[in-house]
């Protein structure tokens, strides 16, 4: 129980870090799978991530039904998360954001690839999902499990996928690693835009990408996590 409390506090911290690092503005969300019940996940009520407090955290079924809403209004797009957990048992945390750098890639179809070692966990090539292909003119929100599952299919076995005219999804094996990948996906976008304007880019090879990803340990992630906690004015727990 104490461990679950810690995880929920960490989820609050994750929200604050995403805001503090400029990965979300007032929109976007992060979830973590229930450690004892793979059919459930935790997520804040609908609120700007920078404002999220422990009392905002709600439990959901994978289909997106609140377990104990107590009048709290959930995010409309929670199906992004549930569908990813459903399809990918290895995924323990999910971020959805509108991180500014990824938008130009999503709308031009330019493929993102890792430009530096810090960004290797985004994967060798980031797929792009266009809701329009299957669903035609929509409000672009992922408001159903059908849409969430279609996005999860594009994500496949990877860690990241862009959503055209909307943002991206990032998944990971634990919460901190998922925030880490979200931060470095944005950095990759910014740097790749600049590099593409200068000439032919030599990206990480597939072999390099895999070797870096394999040596990105919790110790690495924690070096950033400690720093991000302080910057977001949150306590750090190793």
């Amino acid at each position: 129980m104490a461990q679950l409390d810690d995880l929920l506090e960490e989820l609050v911290t994750a929200n604050r870090i995403l805001a503090s690092q400029g990965i979300v503005d007032s929109f976007g969300h992060v979830t973590v799978r229930h450690p004892d019940n793979p059919k459930r996940y935790f997520m804040s009520r609908g609120r700007a991530p920078e404002r999220v407090e422990i009392g905002d955290i709600m439990e959901f079924t994978l289909e997106g039904d609140p377990v104990d809403a107590r009048g709290r209004k959930p995010y409309l797009e929670r199906f992004i998360h549930g569908a990813a957990y459903e399809m990918r048992p290895d995924v323990m945390a999910v971020v959805h954001n509108h991180s500014p750098g990824v938008i130009p890639f999503g709308v031009t179809g330019k493929k993102m690839r890792p430009i530096m070692h810090m960004c290797a966990t985004i994967g060798h090539e980031v797929p792009i999902w266009d809701q329009h292909k299957k669903f035609g003119d929509t409000n672009l929100l992922v408001e159903s499990m059908a849409a969430g599952r279609d996005l999860a299919k594009t994500l496949g076995k990877g860690r990241t996928a862009l959503m055209r005219g909307h943002g991206c999804i990032v998944v990971g094996p634990y919460l901190r690693a998922t925030i880490y990948t979200s931060v470095y996906l944005e950095l990759n976008a910014k740097l790749q835009m600049q590099a593409e304007a200068m000439g032919k880019v030599r990206f990480l090879t597939k072999g390099e990408t895999e070797k870096v990803a394999a040596t990105t340990t919790p110790a690495n992630v924690n070096r950033a996590w400690e720093n991000w906690c302080r910057k977001a004015d949150r306590p750090y727990k190793e």
Copy 2:
């Protein structure tokens, strides 16, 4: 009366948020129509938005005459606001700013279009007004109702219009929504510039634009508003 007081405090908050979000520097202004008298609007005296206090708020006729100036000096360009209220009974708030991202579009004639769902309320295509066409060499300020009405004509039924070599006008059905559109117009500009440099851009379709705009509710706007209030060190009222 208490409700009017609340609205005027909200107008102060709107000024502070525009500054805090980087939409205005020391110049630009925001107004709100009098809720009980459609022939009047409220606006600060001529002052940097970040410095505006409740005692700075003045009442104006649509023609721009102060109702009770008490020595306070108004903005020269208040006619931008009055002319918009005059032509558009549906408009309840107006922002004029020099938001940096919109300038390159205004001076190159490149049309802004919504690049992501958050930006749909800017409208399917943003028209550009060039004061020079009708008025020749001027100081580019909108210092008369004639100039204000000419700008309002370019605005038409939309929410936004660029002003070449100057900035833009943003209108809306209530104050918070108008600030929201102002913030995301700037984001759209920044992202569209980056995307145009990378390749052919797939903008939101007309259908998508309309569907997103139709589902941008006060609840959505308030999620941002709460966050922006805290960042601008102003109290939040739901």
Copy 3:
């Protein structure tokens, strides 16, 4: 005497504002002509502008000799200022900075021109001075009256001139207006770079530039000055 004290305090404020607004980093300087003795000017000892205090202000002859050094070490490049005051009796304040946006223009020879009304005081076209033309390989610093006078010749009757591979000079009829032009020169640079990348730019016409400059009054400048004082944590005096 009290008036001179006020002016020197304002010079401290000007230093702090240049730093706070990102126009200088740890280098660059601002001076003001002695109001009662046109053959003298005031300038801080060699120190980062953000750190300047009232005790750092020194008095210089136009040739750059300190009147009462008391062990304080002056800036090496004070000749930029003295030469401008010497050639231009109308100039009452001078800024020299390495404002980042102007560098790409100086080294490519691309001419800066006013892109929006706020930037009209930079002049219709900004000349570029290349020390190499007359002096060959140097350390690029303006360390003599000879170099200072050569730069002043390029400045001519204008308000601004770029210095290739170095920065710029900005002059004005009073201190606050000179800071104002320095801030908007940087903004113009940033926006012009973005606009040039998007298409053919319609700059302010010569007539527009003159009309805006003619209507940029101390009241306009003070609207920004009040705001900048607060941001730089300095008292504001009307």
Copy 4:
């Protein structure tokens, strides 16, 4: 002994300044050679530079063996530093970072050259090291003396070298000068990218580069250092 204490405190300050100036995020490191024993250097344990405290400073042999670890875990890439000290007796401090601006140059092969006088200490042309050439697919980290020595060979007699898909190394004759060059290498990158997009760039000539570098004195560096100390909330010692 007091002098050594001062140097170690300065190393803490150097870490904080690199973070405060945006040259490192949560990764990257800075070292200083032992003033009394050229076969040793000092470096923090593996930690985000912004968080480094005096108790984190460890002593290493040039081969990267900790002299007195007391359970503290070192950075994996300390061999970057040791190999540079080994090959270059003139080098007294080393920085390794992932400064964002240098990445696009490293992956496109575009050569960095000094664009303004403040950046002359980066050298007339910055070489690029690609670990892949000699070592094939790796995780891109410099985890051995062999890799460190290969990088040092590319650095040669210069002050800076880029590392493709990774970052850069900066060396110098004393700690403060090395931080100074690191800060202005990043500025050069940013400005060179912008300038290259605008036209043919006139860089500093070889003669200019040498003359500026020769007149960049400790007094110059200290003007920035004082300012950076205050911004990083660290005491300044002349």
